[in-house]
Symmetry: C2
Subunit: 510 residues, 2 copies
């Protein structure tokens, strides 16, 4: 790993003209028709197949409270096997209570976001073990890495969330990591937060800390997290504890099985999607049995196994199929849809990392994915959070936001008088029509090299990752935490200190 | 530039398992609805604006024969200014004669392709000055480079053309380069060919050489090339000579203005597209006045100028807008549509090169672009043909072809019995349903790294470009020219030899 000479004046220049940071916080809308891959008949067959899975095969719910809820709702429950068979009437009635869209509140109301309709939100990555950049190489994540990613997420206008389980802070004991992460999320950012739905103890802490910041949690939700099915056909006690306590508090769950076609689901995409749909709908229904109207999102994370290595393959044509079909299924049930953005198997932010990311982002955006998680910084199948890839992906999110704004067709933009005046062989560079609009006419890249070859070469012949390194270091240099009431900050500190003492030596991840 | 140790046994292994080469030659169809960005009203306004440009502002046609054709058709012609005003009735009547789709014949009929409908074809890059790879660095292109790119194009099943002006062979005099390129294209490949429409002399040679290979050229076309407008609003004599002689012979032209918003067209996308549409339709109409029914393609190559450097910016959100809107305009006129694939400003095949390419390929494929030129190997704004990027892009073309095949939803693929048998917590890896389908279940990557981190690192920690280098060298090692009748080959050699003597010292590019 080369270490980079940091030239202060160069970085100051970068700072003054960082086009990404000048962008407004805004939620893109996709006003084009959603990309669709399933015919109505195919969609109907997938629906029927998933109903049959729930009715005939059933699902394990490894949690007594969940089993009791299902029994009370009228499902057939085998308590010994911890297994539930769910009739399609029950499923469809339960999920009908879920809101088709909802507002997710941030502590700064200007950063509130809409989840649903044709709105698109980009969220950071979660679950990474390692942090990597050109200075440190790859290392087990630390609290400093976590905070850095929250800072970069707060600064990036095209990211709509700042705090999630972006990288594990290995220098903090595992049972109190959620406390430290969420406190950092609230202090370093005023965007919407997510935090682990890992069982009842952790979610109870998360809800308490959210109350310190927001007061009463009733009304639009303020916190949430992914609920993974343990595919095939299992919800475990940790996830169910998280699902029940978030749903009961009216907070957000995005129900997301990890179906790996050929491993945790059938090798055929139709079967994998039928199983995904069965698992998602069972989880969504449970949230509505806990609390009708609780905000919940249909999550898809289906891809294929790599046939040579047996490991998950990301950014494949199969990933794209599953993303698009999943969006159609979610629309069919009038549920917001969650997909993913920057998934890749690449170990470094190179060409493979970039094109595999686009094999997620393009279909996700085109299919009207409402909540695109892992939108920045993934590497190595989700093991590594890359600082440089964060910037590369952030540039692409900004490009998508600009792309989705579209362009105006009117007398002014058709510019017929100017075209006539310039005439054959003329030049539009210096016309009044161009001069008046030049500053904001186009997407302004922060990262792309558009120099002549010799200029690029004599400036060091940098690749994209080297430029990205320069950008994130400049961003961190100028980070300013958003204002937060001192009393709130002290209350958060007190809560964390108290719970640290109480949780000392307890392993919440047994 | 590092030179690579070529390990023969490693390359032999690569050869045995090169999944890209095992793919069938097949034309993808996009059976999804085309991505659309223009409302019907916006499309109608763009049409009206372009008609007004042709009627009020008019276009220069810098060729006497072209002016005579326009005059005879009833357009208003100013011979002194070499300027033409075209009434919308004349334009629309002329373009109505153009075929909505046509077959482009290859010398191997199994490689014939359909241009139009929802069929997608991928073509190689054209117009490059330099060739670059990890062995040679970047150098002015040679005949060997040209031949190598034809060989790679012939071998790549997802490329539907093999020969175009892929890289300038600087070791061949410029006036006879077309002869050497086209001979190499016919000898080294049995796929469809393109060759320069650069004036009457060169196209006449190209047609003669095509007759040697195909005999009579009547019927479906066998050769063609891009016709660039010299934007704004000029067709020069070289392009018009090429247009007229290809159209008269019933061969293909793809009429493609290079509109650079803010330079060769208005800074606003609506104005740039109105100008593009006016220029394209004037060119298409001329082909139909020359020969009604001549195969012709609506070409779009509109993007924006980079505001800092003043140079063309490729792979931008604006590029994507123009690609999608251009496809809608072409559909409106029932013309096949040509866009581009691998455009980028990056100097090396890194992350920027990959993501900018995807900012062309995704919208191009989604919008039903029938003819995607420059689909492999572009670098540096089209100056450089990269061997490594050729392979990276070829992998993505294969991924698109697989993606567009879609997946089946039926009893067999829904796999309900297998899902039931595996049950909660089981594994699909070893089921009969998986075992029976595993070999061909998924897209097989040739290039992507899906190893574990330590395995990847201990194998050298290669990036995508290093792996791509290994692949193209292995491909070239095993290239076999497709069979060609000895008499045809001799006739081509004789023709080239005779014309070389005749063209010696003549500069066709004055």
């Amino acid at each position: 790993m080369r270490s980079m000479k940091r030239d202060r004046s160069q970085r100051r220049a970068q700072r003054l003209e960082s086009p990404l940071l000048k962008r407004p916080f805004r939620q893109p809308r996709n006003s084009m028709a959603p990309m669709e891959i399933l015919s109505p008949e195919q969609l109907s067959r997938l629906h029927d197949a998933s109903m049959q899975i729930l009715e005939v095969t059933g699902i394990d719910f490894l949690d007594d409270e969940a089993l009791a809820i299902w029994e009370k709702a009228g499902a057939k429950v085998d308590h010994k096997r911890r297994h539930v068979w769910i009739d399609r009437g029950l499923i469809m009635e339960a999920i009908a209570a879920a809101p088709p869209s909802f507002t997710w509140r941030a502590r700064n109301p200007a950063h509130n976001i809409l989840i649903g309709e044709n709105a698109i939100t980009f969220g950071p990555s979660g679950g990474m073990v390692y942090a990597a950049n050109r200075d440190i190489g790859r290392r087990a994540g630390t609290m400093e890495d976590f905070e850095n990613f929250v800072k970069l997420s707060q600064m990036c206008p095209d990211l709509h969330f700042a705090s999630w389980e972006q990288v594990a802070p290995h220098d903090v004991p595992s049972s109190v990591r959620h406390l430290h992460r969420l406190r950092a999320g609230f202090i370093l950012s005023d965007k919407a937060v997510m935090e682990a739905a890992h069982g009842r103890v952790i979610t109870s802490d998360n809800l308490e800390m959210a109350r310190i910041v927001f007061g009463d949690l009733e009304g639009a939700p303020v916190i949430g997290d992914v609920i993974n099915a343990n595919s095939p056909l299992i919800y475990d006690d940790r996830m169910l504890g998280g699902l029940i306590s978030y749903a009961r508090a009216g907070q957000v769950t995005f129900i997301t099985p990890f179906i790996l076609a050929g491993a945790t689901g059938p090798v055929t995409m139709a079967g994998a999607l039928a199983q995904q749909n069965a698992e998602v709908l069972a989880g969504v229904a449970l949230t509505q049995l806990v609390r009708p109207g609780a905000p919940v999102v249909y999550g898809g994370f289906t891809t294929n196994v790599d046939m040579k290595s047996g490991s998950p393959a990301f950014g494949t044509p199969e990933t794209a199929w599953a993303l698009i079909a999943g969006a159609q299924l979610a629309r069919h049930y009038r549920l917001p849809y969650r997909g993913s953005g920057s998934l890749t198997n690449a170990k470094i932010p190179d060409a493979q990392a970039a094109y595999e990311t686009m094999w997620n982002l393009w279909p996700a955006v085109s299919a009207h994915t409402n909540l695109i998680m892992h939108a920045v910084g993934w590497l190595d199948g989700g093991l590594t959070a890359s600082y440089e890839k964060f910037i590369i992906d952030a540039e692409n999110l900004a490009m998508f936001a600009h792309f989705l704004e579209g362009f105006t067709v009117d007398d002014d933009t058709l510019a017929l008088a100017s075209i006539d005046q310039v005439g054959p062989g003329g030049h539009h560079f210096s016309t009044p029509h161009t001069r008046d609009r030049f500053q904001d006419a186009f997407y302004q890249t922060a990262l792309a090299d558009r120099l002549g070859y010799e200029t690029w070469e004599s400036a060091g012949g940098w690749d994209t990752a080297q430029r990205a390194h320069q950008i994130w270091t400049a961003w961190l240099d100028q980070f300013q935490p958003p204002p937060l009431d001192t009393g709130v900050q002290e209350a958060l500190n007190d809560y964390v200190a108290r719970r640290e003492r109480q949780l000392e030596g307890i392993n919440l991840y047994d």
